[in-house]
């Protein structure tokens, strides 16, 4: 029997599904201390794709978490970092353009809006801190404080009055923006000066002299250019006690400010790509910790040893210990077991349905050749399973005479060196995929922690979706909870891929187009994978290296959108050609989608596409796409004959 699992906790794979206070829910990532966010003296720009843990990190840094009602002891120095996580409403900000108003005026308005919103948050944060367990600043101190500078801007000096006044102003501002031609412009705080004056007043309050506000503006890349220039100006002039930092999916292409200067990494801010802050070992251990930790919470064990460790920034060093890592990885690997590929071949050969599939495919392959050998002879019990599994592909190749393959097979089964070592190495994975293809939604290759980790491709959210799906299906099947069967893991991998492909529709303006592109590209790889000769197994990448023209701006935009949402993963390959070197970009279809098409999740081989082919995949009609798919398949089959020298 399983223990009862609270699925509402495991369903939360996105930070936005958590409330503002994530104290006790945030698992400190291994890179946390290296970021040095809590003591930074200048801005930080965090760049990370969906699912990398960026929003959860920001929620943790926000005052709602670090001064949480659930935090019983808050150190004195916590006041030196008051994080304010500000996620902009892009449709509201988008209304601050055109409409008969000059951009310079909008720029001024947006500056006022930013200071209005942040000033409100600053006062609210103080109120929140005053009512927390932080002992250096109490509610009485909050009520008794005054902010004399506010008067200079015709705002009240009492903090409670100021808070309500700022709220009213924000309402009036919103109404003015909505009804630009009819409503009156409210009196607005003028921008950074107002924030600086306010913070100077706050610093004069006993106990708050070291106060420092860190504003984290999320999704900054979705703002209009002039708005980014306004925020860049804040970023450029950031210093204690007011530091404005940015986060976004991709680095903003606007470096200008409202003045003549521009901003640059290192000079003005620390640029951090979250994905690059962990080694693969650290990442795999962290993913495992998050899964195992959440499992403890969901299982009603919120104070487990592991949870205490992963929630505490001071335990990061202990978590780097080899023994800890080994323990975590062993635990997670026990839960997500898998087998060697050769063992999968043995299992397959013991399955009557697969035996029939194999017999039928071998018969079909040799029926096209002149031979006296039969399928039964190739399938003799003494021959190793992994060698039998690759036979349909080998026997389908034009230049492989059945007798030659048979002789090699005998050599291999006797442990003598021969061609089969290489053939198995190159073809076993693809051959197993093909043997299981008739099962449609199940292939045991998609199992094991390491496989799930590879398929997640650095994306924590994808890893959690995969592993929670396994848990959910395992519960439905009433399996024991200490170890998930390979079958459940593989079926869950398909379900997760299906869910994530459907989700692509929500990826911005090109969502539907991107989804259709993934389905088309995946099907092209699937079609190539199913070619009987399997001359190029495990193709799941492409490169655009020919065509009568270069990529159009529309096509380039499409590729950048696909990369932004990590549908395509880019790998720059530099190949020296004569004296000049040419950069070739390979794009891999995100391996998380691979179970849906039953293609390989491993980065192996690529296909070459022309610009026109790419256009068809991304934007062509269904008819154009069908023509392309058949021509790619034909080309691959033609190459099967000519590439035999490669002996794949």
């Amino acid at each position: 029997m399983q223990t009862i699992i609270d699925h509402s906790i495991l369903a939360k794979t996105r930070a936005e599904e958590h409330p503002a206070d994530v104290w006790g829910k945030f698992f400190v990532p291994p890179y946390f201390n290296t970021l040095g966010l809590k003591t930074a003296t200048k801005s930080t720009y965090l760049v990370g794709k969906r699912g990398c843990g960026k929003t959860m990190l920001l929620k943790y840094l926000d005052y709602h978490s670090l001064f949480s009602r659930n935090r019983t002891a808050i150190p004195k120095e916590e006041i030196e970092h008051i994080g304010i996580y500000w996620r902009v409403d892009t449709q509201f900000c988008n209304s601050m353009k055109l409409r008969g108003v000059e951009e310079a005026e909008w720029s001024n308005t947006f500056n006022c809006y930013f200071s209005l919103a942040i000033a409100g948050e600053i006062i609210r944060s103080l109120k929140y801190i005053a009512s927390s367990s932080y002992s250096e600043f109490t509610s009485a101190q909050f009520d008794n404080m005054t902010l004399p500078s506010a008067e200079d801007y015709s705002f009240p000096t009492d903090p409670n009055d100021l808070e309500s006044h700022l709220e009213k102003t924000r309402k009036a501002f919103s109404l003015w923006i909505s009804n630009l031609s009819a409503a009156a412009r409210p009196l607005l705080p003028p921008g950074k000066d107002f924030l600086d004056s306010l913070i100077n007043d706050i610093k004069k309050i006993p106990g708050l002299d070291k106060i420092c506000f860190y504003i984290y503006v999320d999704e900054v890349e979705n703002l209009i250019s002039y708005q980014r220039r306004v925020l860049n100006t804040y970023l450029r002039h950031s210093q204690k006690p007011l530091i404005v930092s940015f986060t976004s999916k991709e680095l903003s292409d606007e470096n200008g400010t409202t003045g003549k200067e521009s901003i640059s990494a290192t000079n003005d801010y620390n640029l951090c790509y979250i994905d690059n802050l962990m080694t693969e070992t650290e990442r795999s251990c962290f993913f495992a910790e998050v899964f195992l930790g959440n499992l403890d919470i969901a299982g009603g064990n919120p104070d487990s040893l592991l949870l205490k460790l992963v929630r505490d920034p001071s335990s990061l060093e202990a978590r780097q210990e080899k023994a800890h890592r080994e323990d975590i990885l062993n635990r997670v690997k026990l839960k997500f077991p898998t087998k060697e590929h050769k063992q999968f071949a043995v299992d397959a050969m013991e399955t009557p349905r697969i035996q029939n599939i194999l017999r039928e495919r071998i018969s079909k392959a040799i029926s096209k050749k002149t031979t006296k050998l039969t399928a039964e002879e190739f399938l003799k019990g003494e021959f190793p399973a992994e060698a039998k599994a690759v036979l349909p592909a080998l026997l389908s190749r034009a230049n492989n005479r059945p007798e030659f393959v048979y002789t090699e097979l005998e050599k291999y089964s006797k442990g003598k060196p021969g061609k089969f070592d290489n053939w198995i190495h190159n073809n076993l994975f693809g051959s197993l995929l093909e043997l299981y293809r008739p099962y449609r939604t199940y292939c045991p290759l998609y199992s094991g922690f390491d496989t799930f980790f590879s398929m997640s491709n650095r994306n924590l959210r994808h890893f959690l979706i995969l592993s929670y799906k396994v848990l959910e299906m395992s519960e439905l099947e009433d399996e024991p909870e200490d170890c998930f069967s390979i079958e459940i893991q593989a079926r869950a991998a398909y379900e997760a891929a299906d869910q994530l492909i459907r989700e692509i529709k929500t990826f911005g303006e090109f969502g539907e187009q991107l989804r259709s592109f993934v389905l088309r590209l995946g099907n092209v790889f699937k079609t190539l994978q199913t070619a009987p000769s399997m001359s190029e197994p495990e193709q799941n990448q492409f490169t655009i290296n020919s065509g009568a023209r270069s990529l159009s701006p529309e096509e380039s935009l499409f590729i950048s959108e696909a990369q932004k949402y990590a549908i395509l993963i880019e790998k720059l390959e530099t190949k020296a050609k004569n004296t000049a070197s040419t950069d070739i970009t390979d794009f891999q279809l995100n391996p998380i989608y691979s179970p849906y098409f039953m293609i390989s999740y491993r980065r192996k081989r690529k296909i070459e596409l022309s610009v026109e082919d790419f256009h068809t995949l991304a934007m062509g009609t269904e008819d154009q796409y069908s023509d392309l798919a058949s021509s790619v398949y034909r080309k691959s089959e033609l190459q099967a004959g000519s590439q035999l020298g490669l002996e794949l």
Partner: protein, 298 residues
């Protein structure tokens, strides 16, 4: 206090709909059979037929041959307010409907008609499939002047989504506007649907995205703007004083009509969250019931 009443007349054919003498007919673009049918309406009684288009990139509106910032469209519409006004909502988009309805109400029009034709069926992506081919591209949530709210502000307390056949529209709103999750959200399915059984086409595809949300689920007739208006009123009454709400009309057009009316009548309290889909040609087929909604403001 201003009151609004919506009277509904049903017709089996658009030919049975009679337009008021000398009326102004505002319309949009025909995309399918019902759109063609709507534009072939016997308009001999109409004194003018004017096409309205909203451009979300520039937030401008064109009415007939004139174009202006949507903020300032009142002068363009003021020339027509002394004639009976009819909005052909089958062809008009949500943004166009809102801009024009808000303007005529503001200009003092107390009565106008809104026509709407149901289709016989919606086009599926694949025959027998469970998803529908209704939009080429969904631009994304972009503001409509006079109906803008700041979702990042706590002042926007609640939101109502009228849901249709495209679950990605709700999912995208929740993904791009994560602050929505912290508000009181009501999701409304069109039940009864235009035809028995059609409600499943909207409920089933939304199940997975609503699974882990604490949203209130409500139902309201898909073809009854009056019921939708009432539902919105209820949400408005639940707000604290001076707070705001948003409505996302991403379901049926009659619910869109209710949204346009509601946002027009409560301009300072209600914003519209709309994603401006580029609608597909032939997105529906055949003809169903026609409705004439007569709006009376007293």
């Amino acid at each position: 206090m201003t009151n609004i009443k919506i009277f509904t007349n049903k017709f089996s054919s658009v030919q049975d709909v009679s337009l008021p003498e000398n009326c102004i007919l505002f319309h949009g673009v025909s995309l399918d059979d019902r759109g063609e049918n709507a534009l072939s309406l016997d308009d001999t009684k109409a004194s003018a037929k004017l096409k309205i288009t909203y451009y979300h990139e520039t937030m401008r509106l064109s009415i007939g041959g004139d174009e202006i910032d949507a903020d300032n469209c009142d002068p363009l519409l003021s020339q027509y307010i002394n004639l009976p006004i009819v909005f052909e909502a089958t062809t008009l988009g949500l943004a166009e409907l809102y801009c024009a309805i808000r303007s005529v109400i503001k200009l003092g029009v107390k009565k106008f008609d809104v026509l709407y034709g149901e289709p016989a069926g919606y086009t599926q992506e694949r025959p027998g499939g469970d998803s529908f081919a209704l939009s080429n591209k969904i631009v994304g949530y972009r503001p409509i002047p006079n109906a803008v709210v700041d979702l990042s502000s706590d002042n926007v307390e609640a939101g109502v989504f009228f849901l249709g056949y495209e679950p990605e529209r709700l999912e995208r709103a929740l993904e791009e506007y994560q602050m929505i999750s912290s508000k009181e959200v009501k999701v409304v399915f069109g039940v009864p649907a235009f035809k028995p059984g059609w409600e499943l086409n909207s409920i089933v595809p939304h199940l997975s995205s609503l699974n882990d949300k604490s949203f209130e689920i409500a139902y309201c007739a898909a073809n009854d703007p009056s019921a939708a208006y009432e539902l919105l009123e209820k949400t408005k009454h639940s707000l604290s004083a001076e707070s705001q709400m948003f409505v996302a009309p991403i379901g049926t057009k009659p619910c869109g009509v209710a949204t346009a009316l509601f946002a027009s009548m409560n301009q300072n309290q209600v914003g519209i969250l709309y994603d401006h889909p580029d609608k597909k040609l032939k997105r529906s087929s055949g003809l169903g019931t026609w409705h004439k909604f007569t709006v009376v403001i007293s």
